[in-house]
Amino acid sequence: MKARLHPNEGVIAMQFQSPLSVEDAVAFLADDQNARILSGGTDLLVRLRLGHIAPSKIVDIKKIEGMRSITREDGGFRIGAAVSGAEMNENHDLYLAWPGVVEAAGLIGSTQIQGRATIVGNLCNAGPAADSVPALVAASATARIAGPSGVRDVLVQDIPIAPGQTSLKIGELVTSIFLPAQPVNGSDAYLRFIPRTEMDIAVVGCGVSLKLDSAGTVVQARVALGAVAPTVLLVENAAEILIGTQLDDDALSALAEASSSVANPIDDKRGTIAFRKDVSGVLTCRAAKIAYSRAKGTVK
């Protein structure tokens, strides 16, 4: 009978597990270094098909409770690791609080991809051009990590450490993202530059989160850049430049300069160093203006 088998039949090439609990997921991941997590699968399946990866095990986390829900917590939002971009976009409260994060998630892929793709997957792929990551970093989002040694919360900006590499240890997985309560008079924005209008990958991405006082003066600011360095960049001096201003022209040009000089891009098929540095400044100002007008719109 063996001779009649398909050449690959009888060989267990890949295991597929659908754990119902985080503990089981951690156990499946911890005993197998070549295991991969399946959430939306929009990157994993493509890489599988292209032959770029050959995992020994796929652990589908979608059946674990909480993975597919958005819940309120401490005035903020906890977003499960398997929540899709489309689900985020349909959550009105989430959009009102963090429109920049939601829009960033909504830019990933096509309508079909939006039904599956997740921000946790976007984060854990550790692609330098991930759209949702600069928005999450600007929003001071944290990732909850479960692993063999328990649960910990880590700032999103500390997850990617190099293209394709994260700070997660073997057996660990991100179970949710937490977006803090949006302060009164606060809002955010995300913009990316792509050569087309959709279905593309960021040549530069920029997330800006601002909090204003009741007079419209900036009191908190965080700016993050994507696609211009191996990992997401926080524009450290953005707060210094913007706080105390009402986003006047001088502040904006200083912000643009700060953003352009922090950007540390490469020349590649998607753009030149000079172009990416220029556009980093341009997008930062444009995103800051949107975040500012949104924040101002919430002034009671």
Binding site: H6, P7, N8, A13, L50, G51, F193, P195, R196, T197, E198, M199, D200, I201, V203, D268, K269, R270, G271, T272, A274, F275, D278, V279, V282
Partner: protein
């Protein structure tokens, strides 16, 4: 004679917009494309490809692969039985499977057939190829230099000078008058150099085929192609088969645009099948499509044009240098022929160069060679008009070729439609609409030859009065609808009564590939003639039934009737009535027609493009776009509009973002639709169209091909628009945001 074919008439079916007969199959998924078919015992064929741009193949060891479980056949070039005598076919074979050298990244070097894709992939991984990597060359100007790495020795053709390298295969020259005299008469002479990147046709369906070939030399091939007769003839020649023993059936086709007018996988699939004794299916991945099927040429073009203050062109010169990838193609020749074709010039000279480089062999791409030439020529005309303060449409009207003009490439034009498209553009609201900040408007003209060629059609009148029509060209642009409509028009029956199918190679005589915008013209002509042949037979049957001379019977509104009172009083006999009794009046009725169709009728178009340039990022947005083109006669206007829109959109992609990007090692960096950026729907406004109908004297209904001309003007129309919006002349395509921003910063 072709000129006498056209007769003015009124139409009842032609010119209407019925639902396409293939529509339901396509929207429900029932239509069968290349990969949608299977055979019992079928194997999967896969190709091992060179990772080097240029390398000598020292040895290939397939022994491990051949011994692997599930692997049924492994082949290299050594397994191909013959060396084709014809240079062109030998090149096709060499492109399908490398011989002594791999000439580009992605060049096939071996293939396997195995019982699964996984087994085939595993087998490919064990094949050991020893390469000696050679220096490579990708750029046309670099490849022409005497010290360039040489791809082929001894292929230089007559007329190629000694001071260029052996990579230059042909040099062609066209023109008349003396441009040097003409330039002296000009008030302003502008000379510029232009560059365009290689682009791919970007069809959605990858190449795919299912091959069966027995040891007796008899075979079947199911294939996604623009020409199954071409596939049959080429495969037969490459494999030393009798073409009559190989039956080729075309699948539905998900786009081709010229890129499926040759073979890539088919000879390999047939040989794997013969060696394994099993059917073999091969389907390219998208990456393989980009790396190893045919993109078009990249170019370097010098254009010099002189103009007087009133806008008269006094002289024009063009030097068109095209690289065609690793083998011979004639894109540069076609560029040299087409660039100045829209204009009536006293002094014109053009030279075309066709050069090989370490890139995939160029395949035809919609009006091959012409869009780049038009980009260069129309850009200089725009700049002359701008600097002389003249209206760019008026300038073109002043110099437009008309009936009787001696074209820049030689022939004298019959009735043509360029002037009509320019006048329509000038009077269209688009031309006078206001523009906003950072916006610009560009206009450009374009020309394409169009083609006829070998064509066969059979039309069967069925006993129930329906009609079956067989054509031998894959339906790539709605030809089943168009043929059914023309047959219905001629027969005088509803279009729904005529079902057109694409017949296999054993059912009809030789048919030229679906290229040169030839099908609606040539197959349409043959369809009309086949219908007339059937009508003649039906008239004879009616005459026999009535006992009168056939000359006394005429065909009116789908029925035979006595031609006049002298013919006697007989009630008309409809097609269905004649069909019903055909068995008793001599047997089944069918009409057919075979022809090498001439008189295709050249085609012209004028495009207007509005763009907006983001001064801070260099991003270009198409704001408004209108196409004006002469269709001769639009058989199904919706399909014609689709062709004009499709051509414009592919040209817009070519102008703005599409390009083959290579690394320093000569490997392709963007072999996928993420980084090879064709436009997406949201990048574009609705492309407006205006169909002009200046009848082609060579077709009974006046039809001209419309498929290709639409891609000729947009590169220039968009570049002229961007140049005016940005305030800086853009001479290099694509006008990607980094390039536009750099140009803006240099101002």
């Amino acid at each position: 004679m072709p000129k006498d074919e056209f007769t003015p008439r009124t139409f009842s079916v032609v010119g209407t917009r019925p639902l396409r007969p293939d529509g339901i199959d396509k929207v429900t998924g029932r239509a069968r494309y290349g990969a949608d078919i299977s055979a019992p015992g079928m194997l999967t064929g896969m190709v091992l490809r060179s990772p080097h741009a240029h390398a000598r193949i020292c040895s290939i060891d397939t022994s491990v692969a051949a011994a692997m479980p599930g692997v049924k056949a492994v082949i290299t070039r050594a397994d191909f039985p013959v060396h084709p005598e014809n240079n062109g076919t030998a090149d096709v074979l060499d492109n399908c499977m490398a011989d002594k050298k791999a000439l580009y990244d992605g060049h096939a070097v071996a293939a396997v057939a195995a019982s699964s894709r996984r087994a085939a992939l595993d087998a490919l991984a064990t094949i050991k190829v020893v390469y000696e990597v050679l220096p490579h060359v990708l750029d046309v100007d670099e490849a022409m230099k005497l010290d360039a790495p040489i791809l082929h020795k001894g292929r230089k053709q007559e007329g190629v000078p000694a001071d260029v390298s052996d990579n230059v295969l042909t040099r062609t020259e066209y023109g008349h008058g003396d441009p040097e005299i003409g330039f002296q008469m000009a008030d302003l002479v502008i000379e510029r150099q232009f560059k365009t990147a290689a682009t791919h046709q970007g069809y959605i369906e990858p190449h795919s085929c299912l091959a069966t070939l027995g040891s007796d030399g008899q075979g079947d091939l199911w294939v996604c192609t623009q020409g199954h007769y071409m596939a049959r003839n080429t495969c037969a020649e490459i494999l030393g088969l009798d073409s009559g023993c190989l039956r080729v059936t075309p699948s539905e086709i998900g786009g081709g645009f010229g890129g499926k007018t040759t073979v890539f996988l088919e000879p390999t699939a047939l040989l794997l099948s013969q060696k394994s004794g099993r059917p073999v299916k091969m389907t390219m991945t998208r990456e393989e499509v980009f790396r190893a099927s045919g993109p078009t040429a990249s170019t370097s073009i010098d254009i010099k044009i002189g103009m007087t203050k009133d806008g008269t062109i006094t002289a024009a010169k063009g030097d068109y240098r095209y690289q065609n990838g690793a083998y011979e193609a004639m894109n540069g020749t076609l560029g040299a022929m087409t660039g100045f074709a829209p204009y009536d010039l006293d002094h014109v000279n053009t030279v075309g160069w066709d050069v090989v480089t370490n890139r995939p062999k160029a395949a035809a791409y919609r009006a091959p060679g012409a869009p780049m030439a038009a980009f260069a020529v129309e850009s200089v005309i725009d700049e002359l008009a701008y600097k002389l303060g003249l209206d760019p449409i008026e300038v073109r009207l002043k110099n437009a070729a008309r009936e009787g003009t001696k074209s820049a490439y030689g022939p004298t034009y019959p009735a043509i439609g360029l002037e009509a498209t320019l006048k329509a553009a000038k009077s269209h609201p688009h031309w006078s609409a206001p523009l906003g900040e950072n916006q610009g408007r560009g206009v450009a003209c374009g020309f394409w030859f169009n083609f006829g060629g070998d064509t066969c059609v059979s039309l069967m009148v069925n006993p129930d009065g329906t009609v079956s029509l067989s054509e031998g060209n894959p339906d790539i642009g709605g030809s089943r609808a168009a043929m059914s409509m023309m047959a219905a028009e001629e027969l005088g029956i509803p279009m729904e009564r005529v079902r057109t199918i694409i017949a296999d190679t054993a059912a009809l005589g030789q048919n030229e590939v679906t290229d040169g915008s030839r099908v609606t013209f040539a197959v349409g002509l043959a369809t009309i003639k086949a219908a007339r042949h059937a009508i003649q037979i039906m008239v004879e049957r009616a005459a026999m039934t009535w006992g009168i001379d056939p000359e006394a019977v005429e065909w009116v509104d789908g029925a035979a009737q006595p031609a006049g009172p002298n013919a006697g009083k007989h009630p008309p006999m409809s097609l269905a009535e004649i069909a019903a009794i055909a068995s008793n009046t001599g047997g089944p009725i069918s009409g057919h027609f075979e022809v090498n169709a001439e008189g295709a009728g050249v085609s012209f178009g004028t495009h207007i493009a509005d763009t907006e340039v983001d001064p801070e990022t260099g991003a270009v947005k198409i704001i408004r776009y209108t196409v004006f083109q002469d269709a001769g006669k639009a058989v199904h206007p919706s399909f014609v509009e689709g062709q004009l829109q499709g051509g414009a959109v592919q040209g817009i992609g070519w102008a703005l973002n599409e390009e083959y990007i290579y690394g320093k090692d000569g490997t392709l960096q963007n072999a996928g639709f993420l980084d090879y950026r064709i436009p997406v729907a949201s990048d574009l406004p609705m492309i407006d169209t205006a169909i002009l109908e200046i009848p082609n004297p060579g077709h009974p209904y006046g039809v001209r091909g419309v498929g290709e001309t639409g891609i000729v003007p947009p590169l220039a129309a968009v570049a002229n628009s961007v140049s005016r919006a940005a305030g800086v002349r853009m001479t290099s395509l694509p006008m990607s945001p980094p390039k536009v921003l750099a140009a803006l910063k240099k101002m």
